[in-house]
């Protein structure tokens, strides 16, 4: 047994999970703040701990709502964990866990930095990284369907059904959209894909249509507007989590935002060069500690950019109708993705 490997893996897991949860907590705040700004409002700017006056710049941080996620988290934790009378108990308890676990597992294969010392900055450097991600991400929908079923109430049921239909129609185009990337790189390992992009330039230049399809599909995948049909508040009360409260509801929330994090991370990894930057000598594996940290920061910055895009789009787009969504998934994106594969394959064949 390689103790070194186990200890470092555990450390990496702890840090990554911690950072992802932190990002999730603060992306909720970002969501609220950005929505406020877009709608000419101010957003949360009151919450402050009693000792705020001892924190330097505390007033400004309060205006920014920096302490809001702490209050939100505390609220969810201390709220009464209410179970409605008619629910199917086992599934009702299982569903939040089933939806949150895949959301957190996806980050395991994403290379969030080059290396620090001898350690590669990826939890599991799988050779089938992309397949693993797709496999795990599609499991997330089970949680939603299960929640819809377990609630034993009609609107959550609709939410669950919609979610499953939506997932089927988008998962395929999402998978198809990544194939050109794999064709170009010739490898399923995400670290290798980043390595290829470091030498040849970002993938978005080579496969822009793939990127567009992947991005739209990941909006559908994470149940974000314009494809937030499973939790369409105006149509389905609250969607699949109508009957949920307190920490169980918070877990669904966590799952949604973790999915956003992992989708952004995937987009950055596949199409925007992961932790590399084409200038300042950041395009090759780190040789010093500072460079390793810089790579991680570059990755996080790119990822946060896509998180902001996710949030921005949410407050701009009206929701697609159900038939429009199906139409877009099956009759637009699937053929487009297939043609894209064909063109890429022909192009690569002509060049070789």
């Amino acid at each position: 047994m390689d103790w070194n490997f186990i200890i470092f893996s555990l450390v990496k897991i702890a840090v990554v999970v911690g950072v992802v949860q932190g990002i999730v907590a603060y992306s909720v705040l970002a969501e609220r703040k950005i929505s406020a700004w877009i709608q000419d409002r101010v957003g949360p700017n009151r919450t402050a701990p009693p000792f705020v006056k001892y924190i330097p710049g505390g007033q400004f941080l309060t205006r920014l709502g920096i302490f809001q996620p702490l209050a939100d988290g505390l609220k969810f934790l201390v709220k009464e964990d209410f179970t409605p009378a008619g629910v199917k108990k086992i599934y009702f308890f299982l569903a939040p866990a089933v939806s949150v676990i895949p959301a957190m597992l996806t980050v395991a294969v994403i290379p969030f930095g080059s290396n620090i010392g001898a350690q590669k900055m990826v939890i599991a450097d799988l050779n089938v990284g992309i397949l693993y991600t797709f496999g795990i991400v599609s499991m997330g929908v089970y949680g939603i369907v299960l929640a819809g079923y377990a609630a034993n109430s009609k609107y959550p049921m609709f939410g669950g059904i919609r979610s499953s239909a939506q997932m089927i129609s988008y998962e395929i185009s999402m998978g198809m959209s990544v194939i050109p990337v794999l064709l170009i790189v010739g490898n399923l390992n995400l670290s290798q894909i980043i390595g290829w992009q470091a030498t040849n330039g970002w993938m978005v230049v080579y496969a822009p249509i793939s990127f567009i399809i992947f991005m739209v599909a990941s909006f559908a995948e994470t149940n974000r507007t314009p494809f937030d049909l499973p939790e369409a508040e105006t149509e389905l009360v609250g969607g699949y989590h109508t009957e949920y409260g307190s920490m169980k509801f918070a877990l669904f929330f966590l799952a949604e935002y973790s999915n956003m994090v992992s989708s952004s991370a995937m987009m950055v990894t596949l199409f925007f060069g992961g932790w590399t930057l084409p200038f300042w000598g950041l395009d090759h594996a780190a040789t010093s500690l500072g460079m390793g940290i810089a790579h991680i920061l570059v990755f996080i910055a790119k990822m946060l950019f896509f998180m902001v895009v996710f949030i921005w789009v949410r407050w701009m787009f009206p929701r697609f109708r159900y038939d429009q969504l199906m139409d877009l998934g099956w009759r637009r994106f699937l053929p487009l993705a297939l043609v894209n594969i064909l063109i890429t394959a022909v192009w690569l064949w002509m060049r070789s």
Partner: protein
């Protein structure tokens, strides 16, 4: 009868959604920029900023004093009678009770209570008061830690009401009456 709705046939460019997406992103970005950097916020941060209330705003009813700092209320109990939610409770002074503190009045209430939890700020008390002793004033945000704290007694109402008369009801009535002496009626 079936109704045929003539939908506009979209061009290829429009079908791509792209112009609409870009337009939407531009609009939202402009709004975000305006709020963030130009401070064009439509909301008001309530406890710090407050509305300027229009004259004639009907807030909480308070008792007022006359210019000599005397209680104007004569304990006639008309307001208590007219009050729709029965928020007002007046304890009259009784036969051998305290005399009014102004000379041209017979009596004043021994206790005058308004339950602000019941009061609906309708203004009937102000309307009915023959002595112009109660006025709906500008307060609208009344808070307290208990129900008993929200029952305002005479002392509190008088101190909150101050001396101002607000609308001089009798003066208006007098003007009205005078105006009706001549024809055509001019106000």
């Amino acid at each position: 009868m079936p109704v045929v709705v003539n939908r506009k046939v979209l061009t290829f460019w429009e079908k791509l959604y792209l112009p609409a997406i870009v337009g939407g992103l531009k609009v939202t970005l402009k709004h975000a920029y305006n709020t963030l950097f130009l401070g064009k916020v439509v909301t008001m941060e309530y406890p710090e900023q407050k509305w300027t209330l229009p004259t004639g705003y009907r807030g909480a009813p308070y008792l007022v004093k006359d210019q000599d700092n005397n209680t104007k209320c004569v304990s006639c109990q008309l307001c208590e009678f007219v009050c729709p939610p029965k928020a007002i409770r007046i304890t009259p002074p009784g036969q051998n009770g305290q005399k009014a503190d102004r000379t041209n009045a017979e009596k004043m209430p021994a206790e005058f209570e308004i339950n602000m939890l019941r009061c609906i700020f309708c203004g009937f008390c102000q309307e009915v008061c023959p002595e112009e002793a109660i006025f709906l004033q500008q307060d609208y945000s009344l808070t307290g830690l208990s129900r008993s704290e929200m029952i305002y007694n005479k002392e509190k109402l008088l101190s909150l009401g101050g001396e101002v008369g607000g609308i001089q009801k009798w003066k208006l009535k007098l003007d009205e009456a005078k105006a009706q002496e001549s024809f055509p009626v001019k106000l």
